[in-house]
């Protein structure tokens, strides 16, 4: 039962990650972000996406990686999942590749410092390239935000 699917490739701290293409609405260049107070640190705020206000989170800080200054290459990937629309700030996003479910293996406990529960698998492709596939529903899990809110309060 091997199925083909396309993923958007983006980078975070020199690792390559993938999100299924049908979950991605658009990819935007960095725009000014309005800070929203009383939110977890990884929530950078909200942006104006052609008249719609969309929250954005910094994926580096969501995964507990070292935060970095935005660069020319920084992108905001707008994803839609669990009836939510959220922007991910990533280091760069510049590729779409075809994958096959056969190429995907279960993720190890920790990959590049990211807990396995945020990942849905690891795909090997090309010449020795590793692509880490995100488990979107877990990344967008709100219960964690609520816990953080309660912790903060």
């Amino acid at each position: 039962m091997a199925e083909d699917f396309k993923v958007i490739v983006f980078t975070l701290a020199h690792e390559e990650y993938g999100i299924e293409v049908d979950k991605v609405r658009t990819i935007e260049r960095m725009t000014p972000v309005t800070r929203v107070p009383k939110t977890p640190a990884f929530v950078k705020g909200v942006i104006n996406l052609r008249g719609v206000v969309v929250p954005v989170i910094d994926l580096r800080s969501r995964f507990g990686l070292q935060e970095a200054e935005a660069t020319e290459n920084s992108r905001i990937i707008i994803v839609a999942a669990n009836e939510l629309e959220v922007g991910f700030i990533v280091d760069s996003a510049n590729d779409v590749i075809d994958l096959n479910t056969d190429m995907v293996e279960n993720p190890p406990e920790v990959v590049g410092g990211i807990k396995a529960k945020y990942l849905s698998g690891v795909a090997k492709f090309g010449e020795d390239r590793l692509l880490i596939l995100l488990n979107l529903s877990e990344v967008l899990n709100r219960s964690e935000i609520i816990q953080l809110e309660q912790f903060g309060a």
């Binding site: 929203v36 009383k38 705020g45 939510l84 809110e149």
Partner: protein, 696 residues
């Protein structure tokens, strides 16, 4: 013929007619003598019959046809309404409603109407299936005895006393009925001759129709007058008989006794009028205080004036798909953002004709905005109007006596909220009727009047609309609530001891809670109040309950107007901009740092001779690059929440602006202080501060 395209129109109109039938039947029950209401009911039933027949809904048509027969007899005074007829007609309405619902659900609109039809036929034949209610209202008895006293011929206090005095002084007073021959060509002239003869020999007290109407020939072939004569009856009869083309002249002498009778029926009529006023207040179209003030005046002169206000006004309307309104709203929001941007550009460019054009566009778009917003607003009446009937039926089935008093039905709410608020309200009202108001015996024991009162109120306050349901029943039994909550594991016994009264009341909204001693089919299956709560919260509202044991409870729902466009004050905190709804702002000003004092660890300042708390918006919002601490003078906003005031310190006031409300999306929720966001003219997102959350 393809009927589908007409089906939605049929359903809309059928529902409207059913609603009008229900309302008017309730009104008629209060004032069974008012033939004009019967006329309205008859017309509605007639239209409904025609519509159903042409759409091929035979059962609907046949039932309405029989109803029409009964109503026809009533409006022609051949049949008196009684409890049995009312009940039968109400059952018919229910059955009609069922059939229309069936049509809505895609069914054939058929229903078993045989029994109702035969009941109606019996009524028409004059064979009451049940004995007619013996206790006819006083008004009915009085006016049927004295046949000549139709409602329109009632005399007011002044006219009565004139007649009484003249009888006491020995001049005879008469009630004269004149009938003109059918073939008379100039009946106005004949009538004029009668009046002329009368006026030469005495004084007219009252005439029906009025002299003016008669002169314009606006009458049938009959008119009647109250008259004080200077000549004896026989001479008067001769004088009038000499006028040709008159069919008959009936002169009935009046004495003090018959005047007293007239007076009695007048006050009976007044009672009916007052009853009708209560109904009017209940169906509430007019402002209630004005209506109650009117009841002091003699009603005779008012009866015709009031009738039109309660009659449905035929508006010229078209039906529009709500989705089109939504997209109109969205497009307008886009336009508004561009307008703000243009205004900003124009102020930078500083060219006169550009500025003028932009200003003109701003004015036009403000008008447009008002219209677009108004389009979506619907009076809560469209939800409230089904409750009088519901409460009547509930009260009957529970054997309770109940008045539902509706006020503020004209309060407007956004259409989307209106659509959703119906079910929670039904639930709360049922709850009040079933659990709140006691049985008749229970009320008498508690020393309360037999008839319980459930008040349904709607009113605006600030940016919110409040809907309150208040009953004068037994109130919430708090020990019992606690008991059950502990039993069901909603709270632990230890927690239970610490709860305040309000917190105990809120336990009612916990999932899986029911305090009813027995489960009735009306309310109290334990699924409910929690659903009500979550529904209201999903609309951005808040529900709460207050109660006093033995005196009743009050359920209060606070709903946002959900105006998608509001006027707000834009403020700056360092590099960040925030919007604060103008509706909560009382005043803006500057406060000296030295005027801010510490009181029990919290900051306060003096404002108009009272002490109000001071909040630093920068602290509340964790502003990264601004703090008011170092300033000697700080700009402030005074905001209000209900009775409470507070001063909010900000860096700089930018000015007021129309802003389009945007949600922050589902990802960011539970942000107390931030109620939403808006997009400013420069494309930046600014957050909207919720002033209600600032005042604790």
């Amino acid at each position: 013929m393809e009927m589908n395209q007409y089906l939605s129109i049929f359903i809309d109109e059928a529902n409207e007619h059913l609603q009008s039938l229900n309302e008017n039947m309730l009104r008629l029950e209060q004032q069974p003598e008012d033939i004009s209401i019967v006329q309205i009911i008859f017309r509605s039933a007639h239209t409904l019959k025609g519509m159903s027949a042409s759409m091929g809904f035979e059962d609907l048509a046949s039932l309405t046809h029989e109803m029409e027969n009964v109503l026809d007899l009533v409006r022609n005074d051949k049949l008196k309404m009684n409890g049995h007829i009312f009940d039968t007609l109400f059952k018919c309405l229910d059955s009609l409603e069922g059939m229309v619902q069936d049509v809505v659900a895609g069914g054939t609109g058929s229903g078993d109407v045989k029994e109702l039809v035969s009941q109606l036929k019996q009524i028409v034949k004059g064979e009451p299936a049940a004995p007619a209610a013996p206790g006819q209202p006083a008004a009915a008895a009085a006016s049927s005895e004295l046949a000549l006293v139709a409602a329109h011929m009632l005399l007011d206090q002044y006219q009565l006393s004139v007649l009484r005095q003249s009888i006491e002084n020995g001049s005879p007073a008469f009630h004269i009925e004149v009938t003109i021959r059918e073939d008379c060509l100039l009946k106005g002239v004949r009538a004029y001759m009668v009046f002329d003869a009368l006026e030469r020999n005495g004084e007219l007290v009252k005439s029906h129709p009025s002299v003016q109407e008669i002169e314009q020939e606006q009458f049938g072939h009959q008119f009647s007058v109250y008259y004080i004569s200077r000549i004896p009856q026989q001479e008067l009869q001769d004088t009038l008989d000499r006028i040709s083309e008159l069919e008959s002249v009936m002169i009935i002498p009046l004495d003090v006794e018959s005047l007293n009778e007239l007076d009695a029926s007048r006050s009976a009529e007044q009672q009916v009028q007052e009853a009708s006023q209560q109904v009017a207040a209940a169906t509430a179209t007019a402002a209630p205080p004005a209506a109650s003030a009117k009841s002091d005046k003699p009603p005779a002169s008012e009866a015709p004036a009031r009738a039109p206000t309660s009659a449905p006004v035929a508006n010229k309307t078209i039906r529009v798909d709500i989705e089109r309104l939504d997209s109109l709203m969205n497009l307008f929001s886009e336009l508004l953002i561009d307008r703000v941007r243009l205004e900003q550009l124009a102020s930078e460019v500083r060219r006169n004709d550009l500025t003028e054009t932009v200003e003109h566009m701003a004015r036009v778009s403000t008008d447009l905005q008002n219209i677009v917003l108004k389009l979506r607003m619907v009076p809560v009446d469209s939800v409230f109007n089904r409750f009088p009937r519901m409460v009547r039926d509930l009260a009957k089935s529970l054997g309770k006596k109940l008045d539902l008093v509706i006020t503020g039905a004209e309060t407007e709410l956004d259409r989307t909220v209106i659509d959703e608020i119906g079910d929670p309200l039904v639930h709360l009202i049922r709850n009040s009727v079933d659990h709140g108001v006691e049985t008749i015996e229970g009320r008498l024991e508690a020393g309360k009047p037999e008839t319980g009162v459930v008040q349904l109120r709607a009113f605006h306050s600030g940016n919110h609309v409040f809907i309150e349901i208040e009953d004068d029943g037994r109130g919430i039994n708090q020990p019992k609530v606690l008991d059950i909550a502990v039993k069901k594991g909603i709270v632990s016994p230890d927690e239970a001891k610490k709860l305040s009264d309000d917190e105990i009341n809120m336990l009612l909204f916990a999932p899986g809670f029911s305090t009813a001693d027995k489960i009735s089919d009306i309310s109290g299956r334990g699924v409910g109040l929690d659903v009500v709560k979550s529904k209201i919260e999903s609309l951005g509202g808040v529900v709460s309950v207050t109660s006093r044991a033995g005196q009743g409870s009050k359920w209060s729902i606070q709903l946002p107007l959900t105006l998608s466009i509001i006027t707000a004050m834009l403020v700056k905190l360092g590099s960040e901009k925030f919007a604060i709804p103008l509706s909560s702002i009382v005043e803006t000003g500057i406060v000296k740092r030295s005027a801010i004092r510490e009181l029990h660890g919290s900051k306060v300042t003096e404002y108009r001779k009272s002490i109000i708390p001071v909040l630093s918006l920068a602290d509340v919002l964790d502003s990264p690059d601004y703090s008011d601490r170092e300033e000697t003078e700080t700009e402030m906003l005074v905001i209000r929440k209900g009775e409470k005031l507070a001063a909010v310190l900000v860096d700089e006031l930018i000015g007021q602006s129309e802003i389009v409300l945007k949600t922050l999306g589902k990802y960011l929720t539970n942000l107390d202080v931030i109620s939403g966001a808006t997009i400013l003219g420069d494309g930046q997102v600014a957050l909207i501060v919720d002033p209600n959350a600032l005042i604790k």
